[in-house]
């Protein structure tokens, strides 16, 4: 048997649609699901004599992402034309950025399954316009909808620093969290707001010699699942191909593949050899952008605490589990709600339980975010403090939370109304305990007699007390009293 080992090498190109109201170079609305060809103007159509004008918001959003990815932001950036001869971009070129992108040389830290993080280098990020949509019909023609033409896209290119499908997925989901936290993209996968193109090859060590397989690029993936699976598939395919043919990477033998989501296989795409002759040249219709230190500072001031930083802070500062911290920082609205409740003086671990076990569950059922449940952070902080003070039990707090959502009432009022105020008055509870002990001499005997029946009998007595108080007794206080009486 030969000894074969391999290392997976993946770099990723990501297109992120920015959530501006209007398009990149004209004032048509960016609107998903509008009637075909209804959000189109002469600029979108590439009519003679039209002039594109930059959307300031799109530019600032793009710079903000560059800053969040720790990129160098050049003070001077410009636009280029990339030749493109397909009907979904009728002016026959795409406005993009070639030699002077607006951001370069950054990194993004991804959480690893094994714990800890890994820095993935970012080569560059640049702005460009999206193409329209070609719809393939059964007949011998295609339908074209130009509504999407000119939508601002941020293209981000990573270094080939990822070494597994799981890492590629982690980068994609982390980037989704970041752009959502920054408020620059809805990053809704269903609407194609994020599209991925991984470049994959293997470094194979066989009998002491090292070989590199030809790079394959998988086009246009639009789900995390397809992204991860396509990378994993490609790893197996390239390994098999190498073992069979021994083919290695050479100039010009990079291939482009498509992903068949149903068969879960990648398929070689036929492309004309000169398809990548983009013939870039400077865009004469657009003037360059020059940042000033003041303007850059103004954009920088909109940076917020990034999701992974927040997640790590929750773990360190509040001693939450990494899993819980991840759930709380999956969406900005949840994290902000949590921060506000904690700022109101509630104990973080308690708040975390209330939000992750009850709040998010209700929000999920209602299909909304936690800040839209109709409960205020102050209300939840109040509820958490009532649990801490043993005014209500933690199981009662779940019911109170639910009714708060239904009725909009405060936690204190509801605890009264629902008879969920916990009895902690030792004097009153002691009378009830005495009563229960008197009624159940057999169980008392089992407890005091010790042995294997003891624990069960004690639980029974505790249960009897809870029943008599209709669940309102503080179990801790009752337990203390039982200990005192039965020792």
């Amino acid at each position: 048997m030969t000894n074969v080992q391999y290392k997976v090498i993946v770099g990723l190109e990501i297109h992120v649609q920015l959530c501006t109201k209007s398009k990149m170079f004209c004032s048509c609305a960016v609107e998903f699901g509008a009637a075909p060809n209804s959000r189109v103007c002469p600029v979108c159509l590439g009519m003679p004599g039209v002039l594109p004008v930059m959307n300031r918001q799109a530019f600032e959003y793009a710079v903000l992402v560059g800053l969040a990815l720790d990129c160098r932001i050049p003070m001077f950036t410009k636009w280029d034309r990339k030749s493109y001869y397909y009907p979904d971009l009728p002016k026959n070129y795409q406005i993009s950025q070639y030699d002077l992108p607006l951001a370069a040389n950054g990194f993004l830290e991804i959480p690893l399954e094994s714990g800890g993080g890994k820095k993935i280098g970012i080569i560059r990020a640049h702005l460009e316009e999206d193409a329209g949509k070609n719809l393939h019909t059964a007949g011998n023609f295609s339908q074209v909808d130009l509504n999407r033409t000119g939508t601002p896209l941020l293209e981000i290119v990573t270094e080939p620093d990822m070494n597994s499908g799981a890492e590629v997925r982690a980068l994609a989901t982390e980037l989704q969290r970041i752009v959502r936290f920054l408020g620059v993209s809805e990053a809704d996968m269903q609407k194609g707001h994020m599209r991925f193109e991984p470049n994959i090859n293997l470094i194979i060590t066989k009998d002491g010699a090292e070989y590199r397989t030809p790079i394959a690029e998988i086009k246009n993936l639009n789900s995390f699942r397809a992204l991860e699976r396509s990378v994993n598939y490609e790893v197996r395919r390239q390994l098999d191909e190498f073992l069979e043919t021994g083919q290695v990477m050479e100039m010009g033998n990079k291939t482009t593949r498509g992903w068949d989501d149903e068969q879960e296989v990648s398929v070689l795409q036929r492309e004309k050899e000169e398809a990548h002759d983009y013939r870039y040249f400077p865009e004469p219709d657009l003037v360059p952008v020059e940042l000033t230190p003041e303007w850059l500072q103004q954009i920088r001031s909109r940076l917020c605490e990034l999701p992974l930083q927040k997640q790590m802070r929750y773990v360190e500062q509040y001693k939450l589990s990494d899993y819980d911290a991840g759930v709380l920082t999956a969406e900005l609205s949840t994290a902000e709600f949590f921060d506000e409740v904690v700022r109101d003086g509630a104990e973080p671990k308690r708040v975390c339980n209330l939000l992750t076990q009850t709040g998010l569950k209700i929000a999920n059922e209602k299909g909304c975010t936690i800040n839209n449940l109709g409960v205020t952070p102050e209300g939840i902080a109040h509820l958490a403090r009532m649990v801490e003070a043993d005014t209500v039990s933690s199981s009662s707090s779940v019911s109170i939370f639910e009714v708060m959502v239904e009725t909009g009432k405060g936690p204190e009022v509801l605890a009264e109304e629902l008879n969920l105020i916990q009895k902690s008055d030792a004097g009153e509870l002691e009378r009830i305990v005495d009563q229960v002990l008197a009624e159940n001499p057999g169980a008392v005997e089992d407890v005091t007699g010790g042995g294997k029946k003891s624990k069960k009998a004690r639980g029974f007595l505790l249960g009897q007390v809870m029943q008599k108080t209709r669940g309102q007794a503080n179990p801790k206080v009752v337990s203390d009293i039982l200990d005192k009486k039965l020792d």
């Binding site: 004032s27 795409q94 339908q143 020059e290």
Partner: protein
Amino acid sequence: MANKIDEVQVRRVARLSRLDLTEAEVEEFTDQLSAILDYVEKMNELDTEGIEPLAHCLPISNVFRDDCIVESLGTEKTLANAPQRDGEFFKVPKILDEGSGA
């Protein structure tokens, strides 16, 4: 005078640009494009040592607009010049290769 550009290059550029040229046009454009390149070549006589490349011929930058929506043309006007339409869509010959998608 040797041409700066030959017919093979003209055919290639025409194909990349989806242009269907006649034999006579290939010949004509080869001469014309060569003449243009000859003319542009004159600029190489200038000493550009130490001069920054120019990104744009106008000495201005930062021409922006606010992110505001202006009403679009609407589907009917958008399709008014379409050679062929299919309902609310442009109708085009089937796209055979898979290089589309920006």
